[in-house]
């Protein structure tokens, strides 16, 4: 911050001349400003650190993990934490820390894909609805209403239950005809179905948010000015409207990221998400729930991890909301 400068005194004539400096500009923009504000919010910074850690773990988890995620040690079943198994072992003698590291991978992968798909779909459809209005708006808004009238989890379960078999066989066929082996991997198929279902229930919320944003932005003077310059619909949407709605998009994306991880865990907990042997925190909780009196760490470790991560994303989202919203310009 530039301090206001003292007027320079020119002693011999006895007048005061202001020390004029043209163009004192602060080198700042929206994102730098937001970063400044975010940095002052301790909870948000904590959230950011945990989020970054989680993503690093998701990427490098397999290299950090001391054991294979399906490697069983039948001599050590349901052990409490030891020097060898830092978080103990589960009912099949698998290393719990390894399972949690792999579970992070599942959670982040599902959350990333779900967020990317539902955000791009939501932003695109929401912006189109608001900017074009008329029948396009009516159509998109009604679809949003219909999708939002179902309880999210129930809709995701329904999608899971109905499309799983056909998708499975289609992917297997595809895997065989193209020779891409990973397509017929049952864990991959679970991923595809879970993030498909979650994206389907995720985009309407984003679309509604963006629609509201764009509706308020489209009457701004600079949008009129852009139209007066002959900028087409696409240019106005992509270069003027969406960048100006980016703050709420980022916030909603962050909170949605945590939400998607929670949803994945919920689905897996209910037994319709990631199937064994795939590692999912929700699944790990449900598998061990019957044993929590005897081996509480089996529930505690994934449960606490999940809770901490969701809190982290919510704190970060809240912080971003505060940092991006007071747009005083």
């Amino acid at each position: 911050m530039a301090e206001a400068q003292e007027p320079r005194r020119v002693v011999d004539i006895g007048t005061t001349l202001p020390d004029f400096e043209f163009e004192v500009i602060e080198e700042r923009n929206l994102w730098l400003d937001a970063w400044e504000r975010l940095r002052r919010n301790e909870l948000a910074v904590l959230g950011l650190i945990i989020a970054v850690l989680l993503i690093l773990i998701a990427i490098f988890g397999p290299y950090l993990a001391p054991f294979g995620y399906n490697q069983t040690d039948l001599d050590r079943i349901e052990q409490p934490p030891t020097a060898l198994h830092w978080l103990g072992t589960d009912q099949l003698g698998r290393d719990l820390l390894t399972r949690i590291l792999y579970g992070a991978r599942t959670a982040v992968l599902v959350a990333t894909l779900t967020s990317v798909i539902s955000t791009s779909l939501g932003v695109l459809l929401g912006a189109l609805a608001a900017y074009l209005s008329g029948w396009v708006d009516t159509l998109i808004s009604r679809i949003i209403d219909i999708l939002m009238s179902f309880p999210h989890l129930l809709l995701a379960i329904f999608v899971n239950a109905t499309v799983k078999t056909p998708v499975q066989s289609a992917l297997e066929d595809l895997g065989q005809s193209t020779g891409l082996k990973f397509l017929s991997n049952s864990v991959i198929i679970d991923y595809v179905i879970v993030f498909g279902a979650l994206s389907l229930v995720g985009w309407p919320g984003m679309a509604r948010l963006i629609r509201g944003q764009i509706l308020s932005l489209r009457s701004r003077d600079y949008v009129m000015a852009a139209r007066a310059l002959g900028i087409g619909t696409r240019g106005i949407l992509l270069r003027h409207l969406i960048p100006n709605a980016l703050g709420p998009i980022v916030v909603s994306l962050t909170v949605g990221f945590g939400g998607a991880m929670l949803a994945e865990s919920s689905l897996s907990y209910l037994g319709i998400g990631i199937q064994p042997p795939g590692a999912s925190w929700g699944r790990m909780i449900s598998e061990s729930l019957g044993r929590w009196r005897y081996a509480p760490h089996l529930v505690l470790a994934p449960g606490l991890t999940l809770a901490v991560v969701i809190f982290a994303f919510n704190f970060l989202g809240d912080g971003l909301n505060d940092a991006l919203n007071p747009r005083l310009r």
Partner: protein, 327 residues
Amino acid sequence: MADDRLLDVQDLETHLFTREGLLKPVDGVSFFIRPSETMGLVGESGSGKTMTALSLMRLVPSPPARIVGGKVVLDGEDLLALSAREMLQRRSTKVSMIFQDPMTSLDPTMKVGRQVAEPMETHLGLQREEATRRAVELLDRVGVPAPRKRIDDYPHQFSGGMRQRVMIAIALSCSPNLLIADEPTTALDVTVQAQFLDLVQELQKELGMAILWITHDLGVVAELCDKVAVMYAGRIVEFGPLSQVLSQPRHRYTTALLRSIPTMQKRSGKRLEAIHGLPPDLSRVPAGCPFRPRCAFAGPICEEERPALERMGNEHYAACHFPNKEG
């Protein structure tokens, strides 16, 4: 029709279809502008000036507004007959518009240089580098200091006067034949306003575009314009060369308008004259002459018949049943 007309507006009608009924903010407007000419369009708030300008750009807010009739011939082609895509290409390259409030007319999230370059990339097919280079030149030309540095700044780092300079750089970037300026100086303080008017005059001399200057400030008109059109309740009531309209107004409304301007010279101790009453609500425009209820000279015919724009002199038109005598 004379072919030395750059813009020829004939019987332009823009209606508002609202729940309360049909409003006619532009009700049969006709005027013309020659190349490199500056025309002032004056009138009270709500007289339809801005709606006329937006109609020329085909940017009326629709719904509720719709251009229902007339012709806008610019450079030999009727803009109202073009397809939406063709009209898109005419903006910036044939006709540009700058708006009232420079503080809100620039996109806050886009660097200023990009905003100047955008129309050139869109309409002239320039590559980013070339467009940026020209953006620097343009900003330099309109008097933005250190343009090479400033192109990477955001609008909030500019003052109001500088932003209006940026606006005019953007508007002129694709060298339009006509610039529509909708009260571009009302948001500026008077010193900045004077600098801006000087700049516009210089640019016009250099680039030769015609200007349609919308304002309610007759002082600006007197300084800047070659001719004037006076609007009242959606109609042009007087139209003619600047000197004639200001010194020998024929319409009673123009006369009253000019009388209500305070002057430096006459300090007669009299109260400043004002026009009694308010301009008509567009949903209840009286039959006949819309100015009749406020006019001291109205006769019975004014209640019945809407006066047509009639020729009063060389290119001087007025729509009044009882015009001032000449001289």
